[in-house]
């Protein structure tokens, strides 16, 4: 349109930028960077003002506490990016914990019990995926149902007893540290999974398809993205990773109970949303989520060591989450208004067309990088 007439008159030499904004603005002026900055700030303030926080032991406990939430937040990010949600993750944690406990108590070797728990988690995820993709039910309703179903199974299997007799080799491994440093051994596993999910989400075609599904499901289907299969894979992954988190939780606390990790799904979703992932889908990045999980972890840990009760900690975390959701929505609206404002004079060659539009992101930038270009011109 406008560009066609311009190229007709000047046939060569017009160069178009690949992006509307310089790279540093695309990377740094994003919600993810804000969360990372908050994390660093909170950690520094806490280390200097809370007695007992700035010691190496804190890092160990922090990482051990944060591991299950971070693990589950990884597939949860992918699920929320597609516009779905999975509320049953904490119940899968409880079920995996109980299965490990019951089987170990019955004399089954721990490794086999853990494998069965992982399979059960994957099966639970597959159930969720089946109901959402094949039967076509909304994921919110399905996962609320499976939340109750799996939790009921967990409590039904074990009642209020706790199985606490696990092989010392495994419970020690769950809490051990790497060499003489204060970093727990499980962090290696967590880092591997974070990298795997980051590659999956940001560097593969499958991951790009997820963003497309989140923004415009039908357009994605017509573009060749296999929507149902992607969602099914994601729910199975969520079940599998939740079961892994459940095994770790059991070993770390040394106790398998039916009500383990009750309410953890809310902590996971809070951290994911704090990390800049939009609840409506189509937007988000993994480094923001990691920063969000760590931010909530550091804040809660610092307040606990300072002697604040858990109610106040919940209030502050909740306020932080509400603020972040409101602000990201407000920023999105100002962005749309800015774009509409810039689209007002049509036909003038002042607008620079860009090759990327909202949602399809490459590398580290996300759609907050969209700029003064018009859309639809």
């Amino acid at each position: 349109m406008a560009t066609a007439t311009t190229t007709a008159t000047t046939p060569s030499a017009r160069r178009y930028a690949d992006h509307g904004r310089p790279a540093w603005r695309r990377v740094l002026l994003t919600q993810e960077t804000a969360v990372v900055a908050m994390l660093v700030l909170v950690a520094l303030v806490a280390a200097s003002s809370v007695p007992g926080f700035g010691q190496p032991l804190t890092l160990t406990y922090l990482l051990l506490d944060v591991t299950p939430i971070l693990l589950i937040a990884l597939p949860m990010t992918l699920i929320i990016v597609t516009g779905e949600i999975d509320l049953s993750v904490a119940s899968v944690v409880g079920l995996a914990s109980v299965l490990t406990g019951v089987l170990t108590q019955a004399g089954v070797p721990f490794e086999l019990a853990a494998a069965v728990a992982l399979l059960a988690g994957a099966a639970g995820g597959a159930l969720n995926g089946f109901l959402v993709t094949v039967v076509g039910l909304p994921s919110l309703a399905v996962t609320i149902g499976t939340l109750a179903l799996f939790r009921g199974l967990a409590v039904g299997l074990l009642g209020t007893t706790a199985v606490t007799d696990f092989p010392e080799r495994w419970t020690d491994l769950a809490k051990s540290r790497i060499g003489v440093s204060n970093v727990p051994t499980v962090t290696v596993l967590v880092v591997v999974l974070v990298l795997a999910f980051a590659v999956l989400l940001h560097f593969t075609r499958f991951g790009r398809g997820l963003y497309a599904i989140g923004l415009a499901k039908d357009a994605a289907r017509f573009s060749g993205v296999r929507v149902e299969r992607s969602k099914l894979v994601l729910f199975v992954l969520a079940g599998l990773v939740s079961a892994l988190a459940g095994i770790y939780y059991t070993l770390r606390y040394g106790s398998a109970r039916g009500d383990n990790a009750t309410g953890m799904e809310l902590q996971v979703i809070a951290a994911v949303l704090l990390g800049g992932v939009s609840i409506f889908g189509g937007r988000g990045a993994l480094h923001g989520v990691v920063a969000g999980v760590l931010l909530i972890g550091v804040l809660a840990s610092a307040l606990r060591v300072a002697g604040i009760t858990s109610d106040v900690i919940n209030i502050l975390t909740g306020a932080l989450l509400v603020l972040s959701v409101v602000l990201s929505a407000a920023l999105a609206r100002t962005r749309t208004r800015r774009r509409a404002h810039a689209a007002a004079p049509p036909g003038t060659p002042t607008s620079t067309p860009t090759s990327d539009t909202a949602g399809t992101s490459t590398g580290t930038s996300t759609d907050t990088s969209t700029d003064t270009s018009t859309d639809g011109a």
Binding site: L41, S49, Q55, D165, R257, A302, L303, R304, G307
Partner: protein
């Protein structure tokens, strides 16, 4: 457009840092609070009590006794605990106390093994660990302050219920949480004592009320429904016996089904007066808390190490000695009935 973007980012930065300021204020406000931070090792008399759960009248009494003791030797008292009596919740609190570097932790364990790892880490960091009321495995704590000999506690309850049902019949046990070390030890000894001395009494079922009032109430009702020939209920937990008494006193079984166990005089007084309960046993939980605090003080100051034969002074309770396995014994269980229940206030 530029100013709008700048304004939005400025607003974002301001609002997000408001939350930071809010948390910073709460930190400063309680920074000098009851939880003693800072230096560890001998001399730091900050003792934190970690009962099975908060909101339990038995532990409220023991903590008040502890507070009295800690006031006497100018230490710092703090109490933390979960709302539900679960082992994994206690682990988190122990970790926090380790980070805070308190002088000693006094814990009533929800499970003998699950909290061992966390306790070992606390001890490595120089925190003294005393268990009271409910023990862990002996290798993870320094000293265990036991309220009474486990055999004595089991025997007195069995003798009471046998006397009240006439030496023969069906009885059931309403316990606390399924993993609690102390209740499980007593129940095991009760079963042995029943088998050896009262062959005509059958223990038909053990149910768990989780030290929760409503759950214990419901479990009592279920017991009486499932076993219509039940003649007696033994509840070795103060929350359980209070809930069971509350149920029995308003039901048709009042007076027909005997109820005994471990209860506090204040909670049981009305049921002894209306005939639901004839007699029950306990010790003084305030004395238990008092002794535990002095034991912790002796450990912090290096006066004892938990070895058999160590002795120390415990304020108004006198001198105490550490027995085998690092156990300090408070005394003997005491039987309360209609004659003496008016003399006590706890």
């Amino acid at each position: 457009m530029k100013s709008l973007a700048a304004r939005s980012s400025a607003f974002a930065a301001l609002a997000l840092s408001l939350t930071l300021v809010a948390s910073a204020c709460t930190v400063e406000g309680s920074g000098g609070g009851e939880t003693g931070g800072g230096a560890e090792g001998s001399g730091d008399l900050s003792i934190t009590f970690l009962p099975k759960n908060l909101g339990n009248p038995y532990f409220d009494t023991s903590s008040s006794g502890a507070e009295e003791a800690i006031g006497e030797f100018d230490g710092t008292f703090a109490e933390v605990g979960p709302t539900e009596a679960t082992p994994d919740a206690q682990v988190s609190y122990i970790n926090t106390l380790t980070q805070q570097g308190v002088g000693a932790i006094a814990v009533s364990a929800n499970d003998p093994k699950a909290i061992c790892g966390a306790l070992d880490e606390a001890r490595e960091a120089g925190v003294k660990v005393v268990t009271f009321d409910s023990d862990t495995n002996p290798e993870c704590r320094d000293v265990f302050v036991n309220q009474a000999d486990a055999e004595g506690i089991a025997k007195v309850q069995v003798d009471l219920v046998a006397e009240q049902i006439g030496g023969a019949g069906e009885i059931a046990v309403l316990s606390a949480s399924a993993n609690a070390t102390n209740q499980n030890a007593w129940i095991e000894l009760m079963e042995e004592y029943l088998a050896s001395d009262y062959p005509d009494i059958t223990l038909v079922e053990t149910v768990y009320g989780d030290d929760d009032d409503q759950t214990s109430f419901d479990k009592t009702a279920a017991l009486l429904q499932t076993h219509p020939d039940l003649k007696g209920i033994v509840s070795p937990t103060t929350v359980g016996i209070a809930a069971a008494a509350r149920y029995l006193s308003t039901s048709e079984h009042q007076g027909a089904v005997a109820l005994t166990g471990l209860g506090t005089p204040n909670q049981m007084r009305e049921y002894v007066e209306d005939g639901t309960v004839t007699a029950f046993a306990l010790w003084n939980p305030a004395d238990l808390g008092y002794l535990t605090a002095f034991t912790a003080k002796a450990l912090i100051e290096g006066e004892i190490t938990g070895e058999e034969g160590d002795s120390f002074e415990a304020g108004r309770l006198g001198a105490y000695e550490v027995g085998p396995d690092g156990v300090v014994l408070l005394g003997d269980p005491f039987v309360f009935d209609a004659d003496n229940i008016g003399d006590f206030d706890f």
